[in-house]
């Protein structure tokens, strides 16, 4: 949890970026890249909805909630497998976390598929 020593003069955003690079394992970075992809995908859909049309509103909702839902499920997986959180998740091993993640995603996309219409 302790923040790494970084020059306090530099902007917080920059030092956040640096610290993130230093103390995050590659696995988590991999998950994070997926999260960023999902976020960009969601933003594009939202912008499309606002600027162009929301006409098949159910389709927009399905697509958008699929990205949001997948995002939070992946974020959940990330926090569950994060070694820093081991004390918080006593009952959830990384394997269990992954199976939960898979199950949640299947249920989510079942509803997404149903809602696409």
């Amino acid at each position: 949890m302790a923040a790494p020593s970084s020059s306090s003069s530099s902007s917080p955003v920059l030092s956040l970026w640096k610290a993130y690079h230093q103390n995050t394992s590659d696995r988590l970075k991999f998950i994070d890249s997926f999260l960023i992809f999902l976020m960009i995908s969601g933003i594009i859909q939202f912008v499309y909805c606002v600027l162009v049309t929301n006409f098949p509103f159910n389709a927009f909702l399905a697509g958008f909630s699929s990205t949001v839902g997948q995002f939070v499920l992946t974020a959940s997986l990330r926090s569950q497998v994060n070694p820093e959180n081991k004390g918080v998740f006593k009952d959830v091993s990384p394997e269990r976390a992954f199976s939960d993640f898979v199950l949640g995603s299947i249920v989510l996309h079942f509803f997404v598929f149903n809602f696409l219409g």
């Binding site: 923040a3 917080p12 949001v68 994060n82 009952d91 959830v92 199976s99």
Partner: protein, 773 residues
């Protein structure tokens, strides 16, 4: 160490644990059996019949589902309801209940068990009450331990507050909804405790089932966010909360939109916005948490301040802007009426007119919950003592549900589960204290042996002690209620316990007596108050035997067999579902109450004079008018007693033509005898109710037994309607609307002409003179 009573010493730990779990299973089985059995009074006292009003629609819809399949049901347009508008049933119904019975029906038929769909519908509620008992057991187990869970299951199994909505035949959405409510809450608590996305997903799936089953799902939609928010405000944010809430919300919201009746509401109405807001807040907090782990505290604070201000401003303005642009619907009237109890009466009489939307009377709390109502606060206080995350949930639930139960009678149903849980926690704490065999000693005692012994004794008395509880027992602060007082008065170093057998026996015997009275009370209330189908009435003969009054079915079957299949029946909306279900005839309005104007039209026809009502009836193709009249039998739920609501609702739409004060006497009394106002006496409802009523008494004094008023000797006359049918006890009266006169006269003069030929016209005139003189 010393114990209050001798304990067997030759039992191994595994034997005790196995016996305890066996006893638990047996106890749960017995509780389920008791829960089902106590709901069968309705079937035994009467018959296997669908009760009341809404269940008749659910039953009718289920029959369509079972006969024609799910797709037909989904696309079902019912042209006979809300004539001439019709109703899109598939899109305006919570299909969970019908789908459940349909699945059970098909399942049984797949095994060649030809069970009638009606019996499935009748017995669905008792069956689900057993599942509710199990779900409550699981939920309470998370709060305290297994023994509290068993008590809670026993309480909810027989408590009248829940039985009132789940007797056999009460085939309504609440029948399965309470199970879903409790199980969703259990999954939520479990998800929160373990931080497992599996339970979050499970909570979402059961939430989906709940949304499909009952409009009360909004209670879950707001309870869970409030709990999450409270935890965050208490500084208890954890990744577990994030995992549990986000997996529930993301999947649950998407799935709730699959139900056509709910549609896009979860993203467009204010009732659902709280959940969305908490979801967004959690994302921010989680990201902040992540950022904090990578930053020094000062940098983090700078970042946080800026971020919080920006987000707060953007969020608030965004919400307000969206509401003003009409994107997010503001609160609905039904919701306002939860906060301002006078609101509905002023603005939406149709909501206020439903008896189950009235504020709860104090005695009904005791009637529905008996001694649980005073154990309930004790249980809530006990939740404060530990205040784990799940206890916060119970506390919030208790506060919110208590408020709502005070506002609306029907919301007693949502209060009942938490009352059972909290009371069980309180009661089992009491029992734990007084059954714990350890006696306090001056010196320190050997703990392990004593723990072993307590487990053994509890196992043999069927109130089992879990490991967790044993650990708790070591801490002097976390014992029962009395030990708390002991701990408070003496130093905390003193060991807990109760001296002597006599105090124990007094308290235990007293508690058992209370439990006994509770069972007695529940059985009595269930059998006498909550098991009446209200379609069939019962009275007692002089010799004590039961006399069945079956006027409703008599009249509905008369309609079914003696009228054209497309004959439109007009009645007050209460009877719409029953007419559709039992008589199978089109109705103008029914219990769905979605179109206020249409209902007001019926109200206007009922409350105005014949001349005014006749065009309305003809325009709506009405062939028969049905009224419920209890004056002969003393049945107080009749239309004359509901009449003022018809007037009020009609007044809401036509304030110039219908005015409520006209229906009272100048003294402000609501009377039906000779002092009744002229608007009252000329109203269609009055005329239809009392038409030829005086003749029944053969010249004697005609007395309305509901309102205890003597009726005038000459009753009202009808020119535009003909009496078609009156049931045995006059409860249901059906009138046929006359067609226009063949010669083009208005029906009144035609009638007068016809009567004049028989020289009857002079008679009433002379009588009128006799009265005025």
């Amino acid at each position: 160490m010393s114990t209050a009573y001798p304990l067997p010493t030759n039992l191994s730990k595994t034997t005790v644990a196995n016996t305890a779990s066996l006893l638990r299973i047996v106890a749960l089985g017995l509780i389920s059996a008791a829960a089902i059995a106590s709901r069968l009074f309705a079937v035994i006292n009467f018959e296997s019949i669908i009760h009341e009003f809404d269940p008749w629609f659910n039953y009718r819809a289920t029959r369509v589902l079972a006969a024609k399949g799910f797709y037909e049901f989904w696309n079902w347009f019912d042209p006979t309801a809300w004539y001439p508008l019709g109703r899109v049933v598939g899109g305006t119904v919570y299909p969970g209940l019908m789908a459940t019975s349909g699945v059970i029906y098909n399942f049984l038929h797949a095994f060649n068990l030809p069970v009638d769909i009606r019996n499935i519908c009748v017995l669905l509620a008792p069956g689900f009450s057993a599942l509710t008992a199990w779900a409550t057991y699981m939920f309470t187990k998370e709060m305290k331990d297994e023994s509290a869970g068993l008590l809670a299951a026993a309480f909810i199994g027989i408590v009248p507050g829940y039985i009132s909505r789940s007797v056999a035949g009460s085939y309504d959405n609440e029948a399965i909804a309470i199970f879903l409510l409790m199980f969703t809450f259990y999954c939520w608590i479990k998800a929160l405790k373990t931080g497992s996305a599996l339970f979050g997903t499970l909570a979402a799936v059961f939430y989906f089932y709940m949304v499909a089953a009952w409009g009360g799902y909004a209670f879950i939609t707001n309870m869970i966010p409030v709990h999450a928010l409270a935890l965050m405000l208490m500084g208890r944010f954890s990744s577990r909360l994030y995992v549990a809430y986000c997996s529930w919300y993301a999947i649950g919201t998407l799935s709730s939109m699959q139900v056509p009746f709910v549609g896009f509401q979860p993203v467009r109405t204010s009732e659902h916005m709280g959940a969305l807001g908490v979801f967004g807040l959690l994302q921010i907090v989680a990201f902040a948490q992540l950022a904090r782990s990578h930053l020094s505290s000062k940098q983090f604070q700078n970042l946080l301040t800026v971020a919080v201000i920006v987000m707060g401003v953007v969020g608030t303005f965004g919400f307000i802007a969206l509401t003003y642009m009409g994107w997010i619907a503001p609160w609905t009237g039904r919701f306002y009426s939860l906060w301002d109890t006078g609101y509905a009466k002023k603005y939406i009489p149709i909501i206020a007119s439903v008896s189950e939307h009235q504020p709860t009377a104090w005695p009904s709390f005791f009637m529905d919950l008996q001694f649980l109502i005073f154990l309930f606060p004790a249980g809530v206080v006990l939740c404060f003592r530990e205040l784990r995350d799940e206890h916060v949930f119970v506390i919030i639930y208790a506060v919110v549900a208590s408020y709502f139960a005070g506002v609306m009678v029907r919301l007693m149903l949502t209060l009942t589960p938490v009352v059972c849980v909290a009371s069980a926690v309180a009661f089992s704490s009491l029992m734990d204290t007084y059954l714990d065999p350890t006696q306090p000693e001056a010196e320190g005692e050997s703990r392990p042996a004593e723990v072993d012994a307590s487990a053994a004794s509890n196992g043999s008395t069927a109130s089992t002690a879990s490991k967790k509880e044993k650990e708790k027992a070591k801490k002097p602060a976390a014992g029962g209620a009395l030990s708390d007082i002991v701990a408070a008065t003496s130093s905390s170093k003193k060991s807990k316990g109760v001296w002597g057998l006599d105090t124990r026996l007094v308290v235990i015997a007293h508690s058992l007596l209370m439990l006994g009275f509770f069972v007695f009370h529940c059985t009595w209330v269930t059998s006498s108050a909550y098991s009446s189908p209200s379609v069939v009435l019962a009275s007692t003969n002089a010799d004590g035997s039961q006399h069945i009054i079956d006027d409703f079915r008599e009249a509905y079957y008369w309609l079914r067999q003696n009228t054209a299949e497309d004959a439109v029946v007009m009645s007050w909306w209460d009877y719409g579902y029953q007419i559709a279900g039992m008589a199978d005839r089109p109705t103008l309005v029914d219990n769905n109450t979605w179109n206020n104007t249409h209902i007001a039209t019926v109200g206007k026809a009922m409350s105005s004079s014949e001349e005014v009502a006749y065009p309305i009836l003809r325009k709506h193709d009405v062939d028969y008018v049905l009224v419920i009249f209890g004056g002969l039998l003393g049945y107080s739920g009749d239309d004359i007693n509901k009449f003022l609501w018809m007037v009020r609702i009609a007044q809401g739409v036509w304030p110039d033509e219908i005015q409520e004060p006209n229906y009272f006497t100048p003294q402000g009394e609501y009377r039906v005898d000779d002092r009744a106002s002229s608007a009252m006496r000329n109203s269609l409802m009055y005329k239809m109710s009392y038409y030829r009523f005086a003749e029944l008494f053969g010249g004697g004094q005609a007395v309305d037994r509901v309102r205890q008023q003597t009726m005038p000797k000459t009753g009202p006359t009808l020119d535009y309607l003909d009496e078609a049918f009156t049931s045995e006890n006059w409860i249901v009266r059906i009138y046929q609307v006359r067609k226009e006169d063949d010669l083009g006269r208005d029906l009144k003069s035609a009638n007068a002409f016809a009567q004049g030929k028989k020289r009857k016209r002079t008679k009433p005139v002379s009588k009128r003179r006799a009265i005025t003189v």
